[in-house]
Symmetry: C2
Subunit: 161 residues, 2 copies
Amino acid sequence: MDRLDKKILRLLQEDSTLAVADVAKRVGLSTTPCWRRIQKLEEEGVIRRRVAVLDPTKINARVTVFVSVRTATHSVEWLKRFSEVVSEFDEVVEFYRMSGDVDYLLRVVVPDIAAYDAFYKRLIARIEIRDVSSSFAMEQIKYTTELPLDYMILEKGDRDA
Amino acid sequence: MDRLDKKILRLLQEDSTLAVADVAKRVGLSTTPCWRRIQKLEEEGVIRRRVAVLDPTKINARVTVFVSVRTATHSVEWLKRFSEVVSEFDEVVEFYRMSGDVDYLLRVVVPDIAAYDAFYKRLIARIEIRDVSSSFAMEQIKYTTELPLDYMILEKGDRDA
DNA sequence: TCTGAAAGCCTTTCCCG
DNA sequence: CGGGAAAGGCTTTCAGA
């Protein structure tokens, strides 16, 4: 991956409806090589997918809750099952295993607090959890799917912008 | 919005490269009305954008850090500036104003702990913060841009699947 | 690897139930 | 609102350097 790939990724992270010819123009290539590069980035899995991003308020998914979970000590199999059960919930949009005093962190999306309560009950009905603590987001100030590209490692001979 | 729109959204949240004709087939419409519905969903802002989702490991953005921030009591202007300054950082991919004992929560993406430390220094150099606490994610078990559609409010007469 | 042009497929429009 | 068919535009392939 060189700086042209990086430019292409920057554009497509922002707007994947751009025509290949447009991307090509902006990075200073003609369409064919640009098309091939995008193809390669997809094959290599650098581009994982192309998706539509929806407005949460318009589909009644206004509230984000961060759920901190402490599990009791369990076997590897239990932890695997725990991951699977939690991941199955559509309301869980992000799910991390953490270092520090919290074992897991979930980002849960629901319409309101009542729906969160219902979700919570369904969750604990499916799996035993030692300790759960919920923090409600009052406002989503920033949310982006664009990952920082500044840390990308370029091949030798590509040190400029 | 009816259940056909919901089906369309479900498909496009998953894969926005689907041809309109394919989406149409899967929801049981022909291309023209399906195209019109997608158009409308875009105009109404239900579909906010279409983006490429990248693999974090392939672009050297492996580590997620959750940063809990407590601010001192400040004016509305200061809080506005705080939001702007924090949002400017590409490493901050999510940023929430919270209820409870933490005032703000940031999801920060960096390649490693050293890069996080550098980010942290740049952040506190730009704005004064009372208290910062960082939690590192060891593993991203689930990450999806797909919001739950089950809570969507449909127009009267659309109560089925 | 890049360019330019040709072929094929989709999107988008038009007009009719 | 939904459908079929035509026009226009993009994507994808192919040949040449």
